[in-house]
């Protein structure tokens, strides 16, 4: 009964995600109707420049949004389970900004030597940002819940400023990084999107194989140990997966702010704590939010674009304040 209910809700989320993705192909600098998009996609017709707009701009963007939105959301779901803290996310633990800074440094020092070099810079940054936050919030071997978030936000702000500082002294080449820092789908190309498809699918599938272990991590440590669960080992594995997910996403679209923080919380409001549904829901919500933020950002001030990262922060911060109040931090 309850299970059917949840499956229905998942189907609704799935349909919403597909509808929004389709809408993102229609809206933008030029508007194409539902049938225009079908004609272009299926019959390869060119209606008022639609072939170029849809295939070369909107589809890569949408694809990138789907991949990265779901990865940000998943990554934060994992972090929230590991730390048993609804305010944990790649953004609030300083991982996004650190990752973005290292992509910036990597590109300006070594360039983009191979397909996966961005991913490597990004992963190093993610690991470093996370490690600094983690060790700064330890108190006698224990992680203090509230300190973790406060420290994480401070570390995040530090890395973000460091990126801006570096950019001030760099030439034109890096000016596109301004939007990268805020998180954008603007520079997505079909090449950049297809480069991450395989790594994303691998990491996401591994994550979904660990649902049972992620569920057990939500028990308090002493309980988990007493039933013979190797808490430390699985915490490390799950954190590593979360860092990988974030690193892949940041290397493509930059720091997409609050999407990761909000999505798992909305998913949990609808589906509860059991990760069987919540993980999938969280990634679907991540997709919906990212694509919506991108659509809003590109249609409200045509021809100017507002980075979806900024839109997500504008929506995300009030929500952040709301959970702070609700959880009485």
């Amino acid at each position: 009964m309850i299970t059917n209910h949840k499956i229905n809700k998942l189907i609704i989320l799935f349909i919403t995600a597909i509808t929004i993705c389709y809408t993102s192909l229609m809206l933008g600098f030029t508007y194409y109707s539902i049938t225009d998009v079908i004609d272009t996609l299926i019959y390869k017709q060119d209606i008022n420049g639609s072939y170029f707009a849809i295939f070369d701009i909107r589809i890569p963007r949408m694809l990138m949004g789907v991949l990265c939105g779901s990865m940000f959301a998943l990554s934060s779901s994992l972090l929230q389970s590991v730390f048993r803290n609804p305010m944990a996310s790649s953004e609030t633990l300083g991982i996004n900004s650190a990752s973005a800074l290292f992509v910036l440094i990597g590109i300006s020092l070594f360039g983009k030597s191979s397909e996966y070099s961005l991913l490597c810079y990004s992963l190093i940054g993610a690991a470093l940002g996370f490690t600094i936050t983690l060790f700064s919030s330890l108190d006698q071997g224990k992680i203090l819940r509230v300190r973790l978030i406060i420290v994480g936000i401070a570390i995040g702000a530090f890395f973000k400023s460091a990126s801006q500082f570096i950019m001030t002294f760099q030439d034109e080449k890096l000016s596109s990084f301004v939007s990268f820092l805020n998180g954008t789908l603007y520079s997505s190309t079909i090449e950049s999107a297809s480069a991450i498809i395989i790594p994303s699918i691998i990491v996401v599938s591994i994550t979904f194989c660990c649902i049972k272990q992620i569920d057990l991590l939500q028990l308090s440590d002493d309980v988990a140990i007493s039933i013979g669960f190797n808490v430390t080992r699985w915490k490390i594995i799950i954190i590593f997966l979360a860092l990988l997910l974030t690193a892949i996403a940041v290397s493509c679209v930059g720091s997409l702010g609050f999407i990761g923080l909000i999505s798992p919380n909305i998913a949990r409001l609808i589906f509860g704590y059991s990760n069987k549904y919540t993980l999938l829901a969280s990634s679907l919500i991540g997709i919906i939010l990212t694509i919506s933020a991108d659509i809003i950002g590109r249609i409200i001030f045509i021809p100017y674009e507002i980075a979806p990262g900024i839109i997500s922060i504008i929506i995300g911060v009030p929500y952040f304040l709301y959970i702070m109040r609700k959880l009485r931090y």
Partner: protein, 263 residues
């Protein structure tokens, strides 16, 4: 049968000695209560015995093998622990929670589903929770919640059940409910139960055997009857324990304040 004993275990937090060279042999098939004033190290002893707290000196021996050499998952098949304030997400069902107890028996290769269902149902039945198995944890009363946790420990199907103050925060009615349940489990399922208790009265009423700790040392390790006769509890807790008889000539324990008595 599984034998657990300690040889000169010492536990320190930074430099402070919490437990000082303890030698204990756990009584199989019995209910043992660990008693002691606040800060005597009773909770630390329980956690040390199950490997949740590391000991710096001495050794804990389970069937001629050192506890430290047991993988966590093997240990979980021998002993289950219910911590003082266990925590889980609120919106899982009782049955889900209980089935977590089967973790140690799950394996990537073997199909264990049938066994799992059997032990989960058995644990639910033994704790009288079958009716509530599809209820969410947040719908339960304090006593029912504690019973669910005990059921989870039972599903582990271990010989030993360790509980850290299982009746704390519960109303007196639920305290009796939990303690009677533990006594039933001890009698019917032959579980060895070791628990830290705060209430002297509960311990005297329900335990077969009592270990008394004071300032990190064992001052008594004997049957409840002998411990009562030795008056050690009177000294350690600074109380006067009296045996009184009611109108049906049943004996009860009354605990009085020693300081007031002497006036």
């Amino acid at each position: 049968m599984v034998e657990i004993q300690t040889q000169d275990i010492t536990v320190k937090y930074s430099k402070q000695v919490i437990l000082d060279k303890l030698n204990i042999k756990l009584q199989q098939g019995k209910i043992t209560a660990i008693l002691g004033p606040n800060g005597s190290g009773k909770s630390t002893l329980l956690k040390t015995l199950v490997g949740l707290v590391p000991h710096q000196e001495g050794k804990i021996i389970i069937n001629d093998k050192k506890l430290a050499n047991f993988p966590k998952i093997e240990l979980a098949k021998i002993l289950s622990i219910l911590p003082q304030s266990p925590d889980s997400p609120n919106d899982i069902t009782v049955k889900q929670l209980v089935s977590y107890g089967r973790h140690a028996h799950s394996s990537w290769f073997k199909k264990t589903k049938k066994d799992d269902n059997f032990y989960v149902d058995w644990a639910l039945d033994a704790t009288n929770l079958t009716q509530l198995s599809d209820n969410y944890i947040y719908e339960l009363s304090g006593g029912q919640k504690q019973r669910s946790w005990i059921a989870m420990s039972l599903a582990q199907n271990s010989n030993y059940l360790f509980l850290d103050e299982p009746t704390t925060y519960l109303d007196i009615h639920y305290q009796f409910e939990i303690l009677s349940l533990l006594r039933d489990l001890n009698k019917k399922q032959n579980k060895t139960i070791i628990m830290v208790l705060h209430e002297l009265q509960n311990a005297i009423q329900y335990a077969d055997h009592i270990i008394v700790l004071d300032k990190g040392s064992v001052v008594a390790d004997d049957t409840t009857k002998n411990v009562l006769a030795s008056k050690i509890l009177d000294d350690v807790f600074k109380v006067r324990i009296k045996q009184v008889h009611d109108e049906n000539n049943q004996s009860h324990i009354v605990i009085c304040d020693q300081t007031k008595e002497s006036q």
